[in-house]
């Protein structure tokens, strides 16, 4: 039994500890002093407390930056540049979510709402900073349970309840799969630390049972990050949940889950990568154009080279996510549902970078996660701010928004175009870098080019529904001409988010320069 370095652990958990305290302060404050106050006052006061707590918790993280990395309690707690950075990202995302919530009607239980939000954020932060299977599971559950509760926060609305039940059922099943898979991993390797697991797989090879474990783990995470075919909960949960919660599920939770997913695949199952190449016509084609058509046919039948491993599984699910997410999003009439399907598609894009499994691939995934988080949060933020005042979140309610709320419409334009991957916004460079990483994996014969092709062509499909949404905002006449006034603090925070999205697109260099050495040290 090794000695527990309590001091080190507490120092490393400073940010989390601060958030726990904040959550309880928020809860007590609301329960004890604010019972008689008006809804708005309560929401703003408790929200402000949460904001202060979040800002304060960023300080210890900020000071952690640049210090040498720490591995505590056998990987249960890992502190390095990457985890610190992503903890900061999660705090930022939570911060914006809190600001959006302050302007949103979250029902009677204001204190509980913010406290649950903060607990969820703590779960995400722990998820990011661990390399140990049991802690991963516990942190994931902490996050998920908070999110189930938050989804149901519109107590009077059937939609919200249905969404919560659905989310909970799917989430519980996926947790079961994940736990089962992790159990197998432990049973086969006797280790719960990702790096040790990887070492044992490397030395003793992967047994068939290990493949089952891998499959279960992928299914478990697949539910959490909503990739096809494990996405079914997402549209309902996104639509039914209060919009700030939707934003939190779509961004904070997704960023953290993807981060740990990538970690488990790259670190833990690094030896079971497999392949999903397609050797196209590039190397063989010599003849005429007519031959080309014939060869395309044969290469479609014979050109795929799959060898078992997670690359293959993720390639297939990733391709399916990009195709299904984008195609189904076309017919959606509800903005939140539309964004849900779009985020399924985006999960597919991220998988493309993950499959590359190179340093460039990992960097691109992390870069995209940050951009994606900010962009989607901004989009949901605008929806939250506008929809409540415009009568609902169907696309028709957004008609003529450019005249009723010109500033928020402009921000919406930025966020949606970034999602569509239009330069010079962050989403464009992020996507470009993901695809570049996939091509870079095998530059001689372009084995992963087929995935890139699907991704790029599906982005063209996605532009269609994004433009339809923007058409409602910018082109169609409004139902009534009343001005939609939103509080200044919401406008400011959303504008800052939009600015970040633009800056990440125009000057991606600083973030890349920050990420690259951190990834290299992984």
């Amino acid at each position: 039994m090794m000695a527990v370095p309590y001091y080190e652990v507490f120092k490393a958990l400073g940010a989390e500890a601060m958030l726990v305290v904040t959550a309880f302060v928020a809860l007590t404050l609301d329960l004890v002093w604010l019972r008689r106050a008006g809804m708005k006052t309560r929401s703003r006061t408790v929200g402000s407390v949460a904001l202060v707590g979040l800002l304060a918790s960023a300080i210890p993280l900020w000071r952690q930056f640049g210090q040498h990395s720490l591995v505590l309690l056998g990987g249960t707690l890992v502190v390095n540049g990457l985890t610190t950075l992503f903890n900061l990202v999660i705090i930022t995302l939570t911060l914006v979510t809190v600001v959006i919530s302050m302007d949103f009607d979250v029902g009677r239980h204001v204190g509980e709402y913010y406290a649950t939000l903060l607990f969820g954020a703590i779960g995400m932060m722990l998820l990011v900073s661990t390399e140990e299977l049991i802690t991963i599971f516990v942190a994931l559950e902490l996050t998920s349970i908070c999110l189930y509760i938050l989804t149901a926060f519109h107590k009077g609305e059937l939609r919200s309840q249905e969404a919560a039940v659905k989310y909970f059922m799917f989430g519980a099943i996926s947790s079961a799969f994940l736990l089962f898979g992790l159990g197998y991993v432990y049973g086969l390797t006797g280790a719960t630390n990702l790096r040790e697991v990887a070492k044992i797989i490397q030395t003793s090879g992967a047994s068939p049972l290990m493949a089952v474990a891998l499959l279960f783990v992928i299914i478990g995470f697949g539910f959490k990050v909503a990739i096809v075919p494990f996405h079914l909960w997402a549209p309902d949960a996104y639509e039914g949940a209060p919009t700030p919660v939707t934003a939190f599920i779509a961004t904070g939770s997704k960023v953290a889950s993807f981060f740990v997913f990538a970690k488990v695949m790259l670190l833990g199952f690094g030896g079971m990568q497999g392949a999903a190449y397609h050797y196209g016509v590039s190397a063989t084609w010599q003849g005429s154009v007519v031959d080309l058509l014939g060869q395309l046919g044969t290469s479609f039948r014979n050109g795929f080279y799959f060898s078992s491993g997670w690359t293959m599984l993720l390639a297939v699910t990733g391709a399916a996510s990009m195709v299904l997410g984008n195609c189904v999003a076309i017919v959606q009439r509800n903005v939140k549902r539309l964004l849900a399907y779009s985020s399924i598609a985006h999960a597919g894009y991220i998988l493309v970078g993950l499959i590359a499994a190179t340093q460039m691939g990992t960097t691109s995934v992390l870069f995209y996660l940050i951009v994606y988080g900010l962009t989607n949060l901004g989009a949901f933020g605008v929806v939250a701010a506008v929809a409540a005042r415009a009568g609902g979140d169907d696309v028709e309610n957004f008609n003529g928004m450019a005249r009723r709320a010109p500033f928020l419409s402009l921000l919406m334009l930025v966020f949606i175009l970034s999602l569509a991957g239009i330069p010079p916004l962050g989403g464009f460079f992020g996507k470009f870098y993901l695809f570049a990483a996939a091509v870079e994996r095998d530059p001689q014969s372009f084995g992963l080019l087929w995935l890139v092709m699907i991704g790029v062509l599906m982005s063209a499909v996605s532009l269609y529904y994004y433009l339809i949404l923007l058409k409602h905002v910018y082109v169609l006449p409004p139902k009534d001409d009343t001005v939609i006034a939103t509080p200044t603090y919401v406008n400011l925070v959303l504008a800052a988010t939009a600015l970040a999205v633009i800056l990440l697109g125009v000057f991606p260099e600083p973030l890349l320069a920050l990420l690259k050495p951190l990834v290299a040290r992984l």
Binding site: P423, F428, F446, Y464, L467
Partner: protein, 516 residues
Amino acid sequence: MRTDWSIYISFIGAGLVMLLPRNAKTLIRWTALLTGSIGLLIALTGYFAYNATFSDLIKSQGDGFVTLVNRPWISALGIHYHLAVDGINYPLVVLNGFVCVTGILFSWNIEERVKEFFAFFLTLIAAVYGVFMAMDLFLLFVFYELAIIPKYFIIAIWGSTRKEYGAMKLVLYSFIGSALVLIGVLALFFAAGGHSFGILELAKHPLSPDLQRWMFPLLFVGFAVLAGMWPLHTWAPMGHVAAPTAASMLLAGVVMKLGSYACLRAAMLLMPQGLEYWKWWIAWIAVIGIVYGAAVAFAQKDFKFIIGYSSVSHMGFVLLGLATLNVKGISGAVLQMFSHGVIASLLFAVVGRMVYDRTHTRQLDELGGLRPVIPFAFWTFLIAGAASMGLPGFSGFVAEIQVLIGAFSMSPWLAAGAGLSIPITVAYILNALHKVFFAEEEHAGHGSAAHADELHGRDARATGAGESRWNLPPITCPEMVAGAILMSLLVIIGIYPSIMLNMITANVELFLRGLR
């Protein structure tokens, strides 16, 4: 001032317009006009300075490029912010400036959402400047995609005839084209070693012929979608018709040239052997496009569709010229880009602004007898139409004859095929001229105009016998100024082509030498 300031000044103009109050319409228009003119002036001074010095420049440095700015942008991928000009893109930069200024003048009568219109318009202009000057494949792609979105809003908000459909079709075609390009660009970058996106650097790492053979179509077709290559041209007439006047001018005048310019600068330069393999395909597809576009234009009943399809036909000449791979052909193609840019802008201005905005109809059968009513429109159409037919003395002739000579040396059949379009062009231009500006008697005789008016649920306009049935406002001052600018360009290049052709030819020679 360095020519790249044309880009920034247009962006600044868009930003300024956004900051102005919504109701200060006149101020917004003047701001747009001022920034547009400054952009044009910067481009023009640069152009003339280059025109005076390019031969010395070529002698001293071996290529014709004047680097405007070149600094690392994203070092992880070897991306540089590299803008440069030479004799091939300078004419197009200047063209963009002219179309910008005249487009703003022809949009003077827009009353609805003026602020947003000019903001989108100037953003589009800036992006187009950027594409023409970019010497880094990634940067070129960034500007190329940036140009897509403003088009959608300009057409969907201020357009006419099935505007939302036309806008979406146009945008999706361009975006799918650029998706192909993106795949090609990524493959090209890594196949060349993954060090740099600079076009000139990439050109130094020739790819294996096998790779070129399948990558070339990705890039070429991807870009050529925007150049209106048959059979992927259908967005063009649809989009041009749906667009408001300034946007039609810009679309047909400049945006289609983005495609053909990028074909030349990226696809052809980087994959010469790919081009060698595919050139017969491209040439014949171009010829089909030339003849098909002209024939379909002849069959149109809508004045604007005639011009829309004529653009497809004339852009075919550009693609044909590019495929010839000889100095005459490619120089002709570049000059044709400029010449058609001016002609198409002028024709769309006549159709959209001078005629449609006054008569509210574009049906040939409903128009007629406009010559005495709006003589300026008549003369403008006559001159632009003559240039479009390829009459000597106008720029269209100089450009198309070069392309035809180039095509002839590739194969006489190509030249013969393309030449077939010339009589058809004459036919549809004269047909339109007759039906729109003359032909009063027929309508009066059959009463068809009044009937058509009823059909369309509009008030029948004054149709007194002897008097013109049109009671239209006269041509305004901005229209005359803009029309005069564009017409004089046609004549100047037609009479004195060496002012542009010399620099083009010199640079095309270098370009071709680089390919071998």
